[in-house]
């Protein structure tokens, strides 16, 4: 983990400002990402947490400009080391992908091409972006495979993806993602398809790679208990909004948004004595049919009148770099501001 002071004067590596990505369908406009802002500093890990359809994956695809048909960035800026990726040309973005930003997906088998050997696939970005010869690239691949703890990497160069186990495939996909020493790695649910023990080994490996390379990581997951101690910052998504953002420790121990608080309460923990779990009523919203006002309002125990009408809550900045989108906190803040001179 890196101290705040060390980067206090540095500009963030990635700065996402008021990003709006909408999907235009025949049934209407789906606001998949609606006014999301966050920053990632060099060497830092950001956990993007949310359930299915909360907008976390669309946020990542927006950063990489890999949006599916019908989806478009409507407004906002995505600054990566001085380039605005929203307005950058396609050829600029192509140079960024794989070189400055690496990506690991949930399903490594789908991410790897079945007809090419491991060696070819991991070497390809090195040849493309760093203009290495294939011979030199393959030598570097052996080092990379060793870094991700693949046993006998020289032999594995000639293996095909189907010959590897699930955990091994995810390591190979990671080796390809970090090959060009990207400043940022986006890992979208990288452990969901893995076994419990394999999942843990992979997380430990990611942290080790981060320490070795100094890259920043955006770790996307639906499982808030997984991000545990591994993230520096947490961003909690709900219904296309980033509802809570801040240092991991503070968000987990004193959640500010009612959704974060209720979610943390509802997850069983090892070694606890609770006989009954507090649960959140209702279901996560369908982005195509969002309720009026705050997307969490129908499930929120503390909802006010203002939550049910009008606009989604605005972003409220709190101390320690935290931010929350909740009318309750907004009202508390107003009262506090009115009370003090």
């Amino acid at each position: 983990m890196l101290s705040e002071a060390r980067f206090a004067n540095d500009a963030p590596l990635l700065d996402v400002r008021d990003l709006r990505t909408y999907i235009f369908t025949r049934r209407g406009v789906v606001k998949a990402v609606d006014g999301v802002s966050f920053q990632v500093r060099a060497g830092e890990t950001l956990g993007l947490v949310g359930e299915s359809g909360s907008g976390k994956t669309m946020t990542c695809l927006s950063i990489l400009r890999l949006l599916p048909r019908g989806a478009r960035i409507v407004s906002g800026e995505i600054w990566l080391q001085g380039t605005n990726l929203v307005t950058a040309s396609e050829s600029t973005v192509e140079r960024v992908r794989g070189k400055q930003i690496g990506m690991v997906l949930q399903n490594a088998l789908a991410a790897l091409d079945p007809v090419f050997t491991i060696g070819t696939q991991v070497a390809e970005p090195l040849v493309l972006h760093h203009h290495l010869s294939w011979r030199a690239a393959l030598r570097r691949v052996v080092e990379l495979l060793r870094m991700v703890k693949v046993v006998a990497p020289e032999l594995r160069l000639h293996s095909y993806p189907h010959e590897l186990s699930g955990g091994m495939r995810q390591r190979v996909a990671s080796a390809a993602a970090i090959g060009c020493a990207p400043a940022l790695l986006i890992a979208d649910e990288p452990t969901t398809a893995l076994d419990v023990t394999t999942q843990r080994q992979y997380l430990d490996l990611l942290l080790e790679l981060q320490q070795a390379t100094g890259m920043a990581i955006i770790f996307v997951t639906h499982d808030i208990s997984l991000v545990g101690n591994m993230c520096d910052q947490l961003a909690v998504f709900y219904g296309g909004l980033l509802v809570e953002y801040g240092p991991r420790q503070q968000v987990l121990s004193q959640p500010s948004h009612p959704y974060t608080a209720a979610l943390l309460q509802s997850i069983p923990q090892l070694g606890e004595a609770r006989d009954r779990l507090p649960s959140i009523a209702g279901e996560p919203p369908d982005l195509a049919r969002l309720p009026a006002g705050c997307p969490f309002q129908p499930r929120c125990d503390a909802a006010l009148d203002v939550c049910r009408t009008g606009e989604p809550p605005p972003v409220l900045k709190l101390a320690q770099g935290r931010a929350v989108r909740c009318w309750l906190r907004e009202r508390e803040h107003d009262r506090g501001a009115a009370g003090s001179p």
Binding site: E51, T197, H222, G228, I267, P268, L270, R274, P278, P284
Partner: protein
């Protein structure tokens, strides 16, 4: 001790792997379930935890009598099901119901919910008015409105579909329900609703559950006793809290270490290697290539499940010299 509701005795299920035209030549065997024994008492929750490929779903399918075992037997209230006539087997199937992982795949998309939920009653020859009355009861019981009966599966969300699956399992009032990963395909914020519902139904009707899952925290929360399965065998059986506080088998300790978020591991137990393929199970104790305590004996002889104390049975050579030990210090 009261008579066990369900007893599984040395259950074995091997799948032959054939190759060639007409599947003539057998080239190997997947030992999905390889000598599993345990008992479930009325009204208790017994959990089987294990990673993918350990045979836990095959075990569920065997108990649901969806496939015949290769060897061994399943006894319901002392009656072995292998000895049952066709009619008696129908009675067995009324007593053991299942709730499955994927609530989307478990429902026929062209069948109205009312028909889907009461289908087991129709099969067992209940008259229409009894079915309708029971339908209203179970829908209320699982928290669905009465008008759900007229609707189709696609009109429901994942959590609601899992409620429909539970209603269908309960419609014949079985004493035992097999829950195969009942919440793992659901969104995180609705899992606790379903877990609470299952606990409420158990308290109300005294149902016994066989819960099958890979998630130790959920299993500890839900169960009275836990059996840990690795490559077709039970390696440890114990009381839920005791097993999670003081794991005996090194594999149980590994699972626990993996279930604790990174940076919070209470002990440093290395997780070595990956689960081998079911076609290629290591000799002796199947866990020995990944075990930090492996000794030469572990490579050659398979440890049997032995009683360590009143609450715990372990299949591990570390415990055969009858000295009580723990694979890791208590938390």
């Amino acid at each position: 001790m009261t008579e066990a509701l369900l007893e599984v005795r040395d259950l074995v299920k091997h799948f032959p792997i054939r190759r060639g035209v007409l599947g003539g030549k057998q080239i190997g065997t997947v030992k999905a379930v390889d000598g599993v024994s345990f008992a479930i008492q009325p009204g208790e929750t017994f959990a089987i935890v294990g990673e993918s490929g350990c045979g836990k779903t095959t075990l569920a399918n065997l108990i649901l009598s969806l496939m015949p075992p290769t060897r061994g037997d399943i006894l319901l209230r002392g009656q072995p099901i292998s000895s049952l006539s066709r009619e008696a087997l129908m009675l067995y199937r009324r007593s053991v119901a299942g709730v499955f992982q994927d609530p989307y795949g478990a429902l026929n998309p062209r069948m109205r919910i009312g028909d889907a939920v009461t289908e087991p009653m129709a099969i067992h020859g209940y008259p229409r008015d009894t079915r309708q009355q029971r339908l209203r009861e179970v829908l209320r019981g699982v928290g669905l409105s009465a008008d759900s009966a007229q609707r189709f599966p696609h009109e429901f969300s994942g959590g609601q579909r899992q409620r429909i699956g539970i209603a269908r399992a309960l419609v014949l009032q079985p004493p035992l329900v097999i829950l195969d990963e009942p919440v793992s395909s659901l969104d995180v914020s609705i899992r606790s609703q379903i877990l609470n519902l299952l606990k409420d139904l158990q308290a109300e009707f005294g149902i016994a559950y066989l819960l099958i899952s890979h998630d130790l925290a959920t299993v500890e929360h839900m169960s009275d006793r836990i059996g840990v399965m690795y490559l077709g065998r039970l390696v440890e059986i114990g009381h839920a809290k005791a097993l999670c506080r003081r794991p005996r088998h090194p594999y149980t300790a590994t699972m626990l270490a993996a279930a604790t978020p990174p940076g919070r591991t209470p002990w440093a137990l290395p997780i070595v290697g990956e689960v081998p393929h079911g076609l290629d199970i290591p000799s002796g104790c199947a866990f020995h290539p990944r075990c930090p305590y492996a000794q030469p004996t572990c490579r050659t002889s398979t440890p049997a499940l032995a009683t360590v104390d009143a609450q715990c049975q372990v299949a591990c050579h570390l415990y055969t010299d009858s000295t009580p030990r723990a694979a890791c210090p208590p938390r």
